[in-house]
Point group: C2
Chain length 334, copies 2
DNA sequence: CTGAAAGCGCTTACAG
DNA sequence: CTGAAAGCGCTTACAG
């Protein structure tokens, strides 16, 4: 039914090995032979069987992408990582097996030990991520977005959230603000070990303290209508001059809440956030923000992984890249 | 290095076939033998090699999911289909190979003919979708979300957009509106063959005509700041009483635009849209809407595909399921 | 209840 | 420049 390399060989009057070498280019084939083979391939519509090739070469040319969706996080943000990763993988010749299973450790074990993938990318990595211990036992290399407590054994990429916190506090301090409202991820994200939450918050609080700036910190909600209710409650307090938002759901809802209250930015309130340019465009956020660079982080993770996969005995030390945050001034502070 | 079925057999003192049958349960194994095999498996940490199994059985237990992201569509909506599909696939024992390649037909050809997947799901199918002709030549069954001009050969699931258009017009007609603003997908979506765009619009216009209701139809923008600008321009016209929005980007931006203009819903303007409950929650949309049921559609596509994959000679006719739209009244009309 | 062997469709040393 | 053959790690008729 579906043609095999044997059919091609027979049709072209050569051996299977010759066809295989013509395909891979790993040895020189006479022009005439090569042309006969190519003709046979197009004539028969032959494509090598991926499974057979994987068995023979121990290479699947597939990357496992492990995504976790939590109720308390804002899902659209995740897509910003997935798409660049998928694109970068394809550019390097890999396909993406996307795994969204709730039981992360089990999924890693299952996919990895069955040899379905050559390498693994973890998204949304927690401080004590239960996927890492099992991942360490697997034979495939892995890279990730998100900084775990013990990154040894993996290439790790993340935004420098501490520095991001400082940059935003500096930005407001320079403009003379003496009080800042800080809206963080949900409390549950802290508890779960989403290290980005406290890396940002701790650094921001510390930097603010060094200026003598007072910070009122709130765990932001992530589901409507709680988001709007909470924002309104926070804004009911008098004399607020500046707000830093490190919470996707809150920042996405902010424009409508501010409009509804008649709060003008930056005249009545200075606002600065943490989001990517794409995210900002999607939700029409007119706020100065630290660019979270999901594109860059995702692509870096792919690149590092491809490097490890193609150089199995790679002696290079494991990377921990904390991308330096850049602020994009959209004029929402003063 | 990594244990094979041979190692397990040796360790348990049986043959490879016995181990294989113990794994599959396709023949009865004596209790004692089975226990020895199980012990060997856990002891050695054995997992069957997926590639070898695929080669022997011609089954990969992987579904190819082909996603297309267009500049002129609103990406968060896509995730609402991807996640339920991934979950449903896993429940049926399948993993998901997610393909986002820009060249859809080529990607289908590549993945399908190399035997990487047992079946295929297409998302965001166009009226004349260039992926369908190549898909028809492939050996794997396929299902899809989105109604193509010629659905023969596939199981097709989509919302009944025509009926959705009628329902929303009826809803406003019942409330006495004599003029409706209709915001559709971008013009380019119509041109590209996104049939959902005109199926909805044509039906809505026709139904409105039957009531003698006047409809002003606009191609909605999808990128900021164009979305807000356009909305403001549309709303500048006097005497508007009702608006139907069939455009994700526009409906997501609508609350802030209406707030900023001081337009109150439904007192000043009746608003009805097309979006899922999840989407509405994500963007805090307080509008009456036809539920677009991405969850249901995605799961149906998986179910139908699993049926075809497990019953290759399935004689059941191809399905074209247009899900009956349900309106969710959130009190945004009167 | 269990085993020996063929076969799935490739790749790659080994030989010439 | 090309071929014959072993091997990758499974499954499954065939045999007993």
């Amino acid at each position: 039914m579906v043609p095999t390399i044997q059919d091609v060989a027979r049709y072209a009057g050569v051996s299977r090995s010759t066809v295989s070498y013509a395909l891979s280019g790993k040895r020189t084939i006479s022009r005439e032979t090569r042309e006969r083979i190519e003709a046979a391939i197009t004539e028969l519509g032959f494509t090598p069987h991926a499974g057979a090739r994987a068995l023979a070469t121990s290479q699947t040319m597939v990357i496992g992408l492990f995504v976790q969706f939590f109720e308390d996080e804002f899902s659209p943000a995740m897509l910003q990582y997935v798409l660049p990763i998928s694109d970068a993988a394809r550019e390097a010749g890999y396909d993406i097996l996307m795994v969204t299973e709730a039981d992360g450790p089990h999924a890693v074990q299952r996919i990895s030990s069955s040899g379905m993938v050559d390498g693994i990318i973890l998204l949304n990595v927690a401080h004590e991520d239960p996927r890492l211990p099992v991942l360490r036992k697997m034979r495939q290399p892995a890279s990730m977005v998100g900084l775990p407590r013990t990154p040894e054994g993996f290439d790790v990429f993340d935004l420098d959230f501490a520095e991001s916190g400082r940059i935003l506090v500096d930005h407001l301090a320079e403009r003379g603000h003496r009080e800042i409202i800080l809206i963080t991820p949900r409390e549950h994200v802290f508890e779960r070990g989403g290290a980005y939450s406290w890396r940002f918050q701790d650094a921001a609080l510390q930097r603010a303290a060094s200026y003598g700036i007072r910070v009122r910190s709130y765990y932001g909600e992530t589901q409507q209508p709680a988001v709007n209710q909470q924002l309104n409650q926070i804004l009911d307090a008098p004399d607020q001059s500046a707000m830093v938002v490190h919470n996707d759901a809150v920042i996405a809802a902010l424009p409508s809440v501010l409009y509804s209250r008649g709060v003008r930015v930056p005249d009545d309130l200075s606002v600065a956030g943490m989001f990517s340019e794409d995210f900002g465009r999607l939700f029409s956020l007119p706020y100065t923000a630290v660019e979270t660079s999901p594109n860059k982080l995702g692509r870096s993770a792919v690149q590092a992984l491809v490097q490890r996969m193609t150089t199995p005995a790679d002696a290079n030390p494991w990377r921990v890249d904390l991308v330096a945050p850049q602020i994009t001034d959209r004029g929402s502070t003063r």
